[in-house]
């Protein structure tokens, strides 16, 4: 019975992740990651942006003809700010791509990898037995690859769970769009 529930939960989990969408999840986790491990980078970026905006505003308010020295100094500051911003953004992008590789591989191991592993590890075990004789020749297929005859194998159970969850998801989605009661309309203000 434990195997049955475990496999169902695993399949449900991976479907849930694909339903949320990997990019969104990556965004969330990356902002969490920077918040926890490198809180300075985010604040630095933010303060740099605000200081550039402030300098740009005062640059616009300074007359280049009447106060050339002040104007030129501001101009240098703004140019330097932009150069720094480019550098910082490039740094962030490289950190992010490294994080994305790790995050995606971990996600793959947790979802697809674990499913493959369980399917292989319990390949000879039956998840549950079918009432004998009900399904005729299909029994042979349901027991693939190595489960005892007359039982449902891990692989077959995974396929069945995935199929059922997707069907259910489709039904729920249809229902929600019909009622113009989109789940996103609740979620959006929260985020």
């Amino acid at each position: 019975m434990g195997l049955l529930v475990t496999i169902f939960l695993l399949v449900f989990f991976s479907e849930l992740i694909s339903w949320i969408g990997k990019p969104l999840l990556l965004d969330l986790c990356f902002s969490l990651y920077t918040y926890v491990f490198d809180p300075k980078a985010a604040t630095r970026l933010k303060s740099l942006k605000t200081s550039i905006l402030v300098d740009q505003k005062s640059l616009a308010q300074t007359s280049s003809q009447d106060q050339f020295a002040k104007w030129a100094k501001l101009r240098r500051k703004v140019d330097k700010g932009f150069a720094d911003l480019d550098k910082l953004n490039a740094e962030m992008a490289s950190v992010r791509s490294a994080f994305a590789i790790r995050f995606n591989s971990i996600l793959w191991i947790v979802t697809n990898g674990s499913q493959l592993f369980i399917g292989w590890w319990y390949r000879k075990q039956a998840v549950f037995y079918l009432p004998p004789g009900w399904f005729g020749p299909a029994e042979w297929w349901l027991a693939l690859p190595f489960a005892p005859k007359g039982s449902v194998s891990c692989g077959a159970w995974q396929v069945a769970c995935r199929r059922a969850i997707r069907l259910l998801e489709g039904i729920v989605r249809d229902f929600m769009t019909d009622r113009k009661w989109n789940i996103f309309s609740i979620l959006l203000p929260l985020s």
């Binding site: 280049s64 003809q65 106060q67 050339f68 020295a69 030129a72 100094k73 101009r75 240098r76």
Partner: protein
């Protein structure tokens, strides 16, 4: 005119002369740059004259298509270094950088019956501005073999100049790629061209030429970025646009890592105290305003040299020599 007084008495952290250039004997290349009409040629000629007094030999080169050296010295100069009348160690030459690539193409044409020449031509148009840069490199190569203790460039106006100076890096990369390709596809191209009936060896010759060009450019680039060997003198007048261009020039030079620590402010008016010339007074006030700004902006790192506007054209060796005195002894307006 209270602010004028404070201006004259402004305390300079750096002396307002070009003496620092004369003293820095390691200098090999000196560029004079600025917008047109600010007195670049006068300044570079004066600087060359002053350098001739304390160096073994000085070469003055104009790369400006509108050659002014001949006018300034009242003597016709050509592509060959010519001794300036009245001096024994000051030489001058006038070159058109874009002419050099033409010669290269013609040379190649004569050498290998057209195939090479068209290839060079393709190359000259493939990378925009490469012709000028290669011409410039040719000049540098030529000049470097001539053993002058210092070379003063009277350069073309700002944008043009900067394009030259920024090229070494770009061109180095491009030529590196091409000679790499040459190594890889050389044999194939050779086979093709011999099939077409072109004489063998021509294309190898071209890659050898490119490779040597690249070596020259790398060398020149390294020298340019060495503040011990190269410096850039910015010439401007005390007006908004000129100052604006100078600021841009300084920023761009900094981004190319070319040393610059001298600014010459030219054509300053110093009307007599009891002058009734309205134009002069108004203009003087405006100049003082921008002069003030320039001091505020550049005093920290630059020698700011102030030169007066004379009542006569600075032409001929004698007048240039007199004018050049003001580069080392700050001009004091007659009171």
């Amino acid at each position: 005119m209270a602010d004028e007084k404070t201006l004259i008495d402004v305390s300079h952290p750096l002396p307002p002369t070009l003496q620092n250039i004369l003293d820095q004997t390691s200098l090999k290349w000196i560029f004079c740059g600025g917008k047109g009409g600010v007195g670049k040629t006068t300044t570079s000629c004066s600087l060359a004259i002053q350098l001739a007094l304390c160096r073994e030999s000085v070469l003055l080169i104009s790369t400006d298509p509108a050659h002014n050296l001949s006018d300034a010295f009242g003597q016709k100069f050509s592509k060959e270094a010519t001794l300036v009348n009245g001096f024994n160690n000051l030489y001058a030459m006038e070159i058109d950088p874009s002419g050099s690539i033409q010669e290269l193409i013609e040379q190649a044409d004569e050498g290998s019956g057209g195939a090479m020449g068209s290839m060079m031509q393709d190359l000259a148009f493939a990378i925009p501005g490469v012709d000028e840069a290669m011409g410039f490199a040719e000049i540098m190569k030529h000049v470097q073999s001539m053993q002058y203790s210092v070379i003063v460039f009277d350069t073309a106006p700002t944008g043009h100049t900067l394009r030259f100076l920024s090229f070494p890096t770009v061109l180095e990369k491009a030529l590196g790629k091409i000679s790499q390709l040459g190594g890889r596809f050389g044999p194939m191209i050779q086979q093709m061209s011999s099939m077409m009936g072109a004489p063998a060896g021509g294309q190898e010759d071209m890659f050898a030429k490119l490779e040597s060009m690249r070596a020259v450019i790398t060398e020149v680039n390294a020298q340019f970025k060495d503040p011990e060997k190269t410096t850039f003198v910015c010439v401007c007048i005390s007006e908004f646009l000129s100052l604006y261009e100078t600021e841009r020039l300084v920023q761009e030079l900094t981004s190319y890592e070319i040393d610059t620590h001298n600014i010459v402010i030219n054509q300053l008016l110093f009307p007599a105290k009891d002058s009734t010339c309205e134009h002069c007074l108004v203009r003087h006030r405006m100049q003082q305003k921008y002069l003030n700004e320039a001091h505020e902006l550049y005093d920290e790192f630059f020698h700011i040299v102030r030169l007066p506007l004379l009542t006569e054209e600075v032409r001929g060796p004698a007048k240039l020599e007199a004018f050049s005195q003001m580069l080392v002894k700050p001009y004091v307006p007659p009171s």
